[in-house]
Amino acid sequence: MIFSQIFDMVNIGIVVLDRDLKVKHWNRWMALHSGIAAEEIAEKSIFALFPNLNTSRFLRSCKAVLTFGNFSFFSQKLHRYLFAFKPVNSFGATFDYMQQSCTIGPLRDENNVIQYLYITVQDVTEVVSYEQKLLQMNMEDSLTGAYNRRFLEVYLRQELEKYKRYSRKISLIMLDIDFFKKVNDVYGHQCGDFILKCVAGEVALQIRKVDCLARYGGEEFCCLLPETSLDHAMHVAERIRAAIEVKTYDYQGTPIQVTVSLGVSELREKTDDADKLLKLADDALYEAKRLGRNKVISLQS
């Protein structure tokens, strides 16, 4: 009595399949989330109603469980979900489907022979959602909404790995607000913050989704442009410079104009690590300042 109640009362999906992967048991949680009653699915192959499960990975897992009494794990991180159910309550905004963590395990008969396997399905949408939020907060610069330096460095490393494998182009723009200290001194730090936000916003308008804008230092931004040649990156940098040059920002009634200096570098054979790429852009930025500011410079050709 108690066990059959446990089966239907627990807040976890439980499916039992026989050796031919036909459904023997389908608990209430599964019925409620799938809209498929136990009677409807009984004795049918699981693939009849969930064809997306018919992958080599799933089949192999079931075979291993039935042969060895293994447990097989389908984590949310790698698989997202096994059963495409709608997310409960408010997570529909972030996820199309309920995020699940699933386990497959063996069930034996009186002679200890494995006759069935069970699948447990856990709804981990909420946990994942929090994780993502944390990661987001960890990656962002809270003031400007750009990524933070830590994130840039990780992203840069990832892109460099890809570069090593596929030899695509990568370029970097180092951007610095000219005379930023003066803005702070004359108009106050809050105005300085406002200008930082504006500049970040301006850059964001000029770049694509795959490009990564990060706040690298106090008034310094770094923009990573994957699959972009030096020429193209110079164009993007120039567009940014020009857009900011002509803009007048309104801070509480006071009109403010700023300019930016930009250094551009491209990853080439001799530049095969992150530090070298960053340094080249930084050196170019320094040159831009030296040559009078409000300029786009690259030390490569």
């Binding site: 080599s56 990975r57 075979k63 291993a64 042969t67 060895f68 009494g69 447990f71 034996r108």
Partner: protein, 214 residues
């Protein structure tokens, strides 16, 4: 080390354990081939009894010759319990992926190869460990519960095995084999480390096993 073995296990007990390991690993390899199309050769397993503190060094010595390693760790729980360690040379993930003919999941767009390699290591590890441990359990008439495997990609072999992986002051039984996937020419090590609490049960189970044949 031999003195220690004498205290804990008699020669005959070691013999029985050795034969059980032979049978378990042999039939694991056979079933992997027949049921899962996974063709692996498992070398004759070695049985040792050590102090837990000696384990990292022992393992490091055994896997010498590997520049960088990937490690799959999995806890198993039965009347004998412990942890299984699968140690692969770094970078063979790609060969294993080919071996499993995985359906490439398009959601891994950002860095498909790394995530897939990790997942493959985990899957192969899970299957290999499950096969070997389950066969041993079967012979000793026990049933095993497994925790999800953990993949650790580490640079240097000695760094991969941390000191605090094993409870100090305890004895550990270590069983290891070299496994080889012929078609992909991939080899690695499988270590099963049982905590000393398992030793008493194991001794009894070994005799029970032999009793069937008397």
């Amino acid at each position: 080390m031999d003195k220690l073995q004498d205290c804990v296990f008699t020669d005959e007990e070691i013999d029985i354990l050795q034969e059980i390991m032979n049978i378990a690993f042999g039939s694991a390899a056979a079933d992997l081939a027949e049921a899962i199309d996974l063709f692996v050769v498992l070398s004759v397993p070695v049985v040792r009894v050590l102090q837990a503190e000696e384990l990292p060094e022992y393992i490091s010595n055994e896997i010498q010759g590997y520049d960088k390693v990937s490690l799959v760790e999995q806890d198993f729980l039965a009347k004998f319990k412990g942890v299984a360690l699968l140690i692969f040379p770094s970078g063979i993930g790609k060969s294993l992926i080919a071996m499993l003919e995985s359906d490439v999941d398009s959601t891994f767009e950002s860095d498909p190869l790394d995530a897939l390699e990790r997942e493959t290591l985990m899957e192969v590890g899970n299957i290999l460990v499950g096969a070997c441990v389950s066969k041993v359990a079967e012979l000793l008439e026990d049933v095993v519960i497994y925790s999800p495997p953990r993949v650790i990609v580490e640079n240097l072999p000695y760094k991969a095995i941390s000191q605090d992986m094993f409870e100090p002051g305890n004895l550990a039984i270590i069983l290891h084999t070299v496994f080889h996937f012929n078609a992909q020419d991939v080899s690695g090590f499988l270590f099963l480390v049982c905590s000393h609490e398992s030793i008493n049960w194991l001794r009894k189970a070994l005799y029970e096993f032999l009793k069937q044949y008397e």
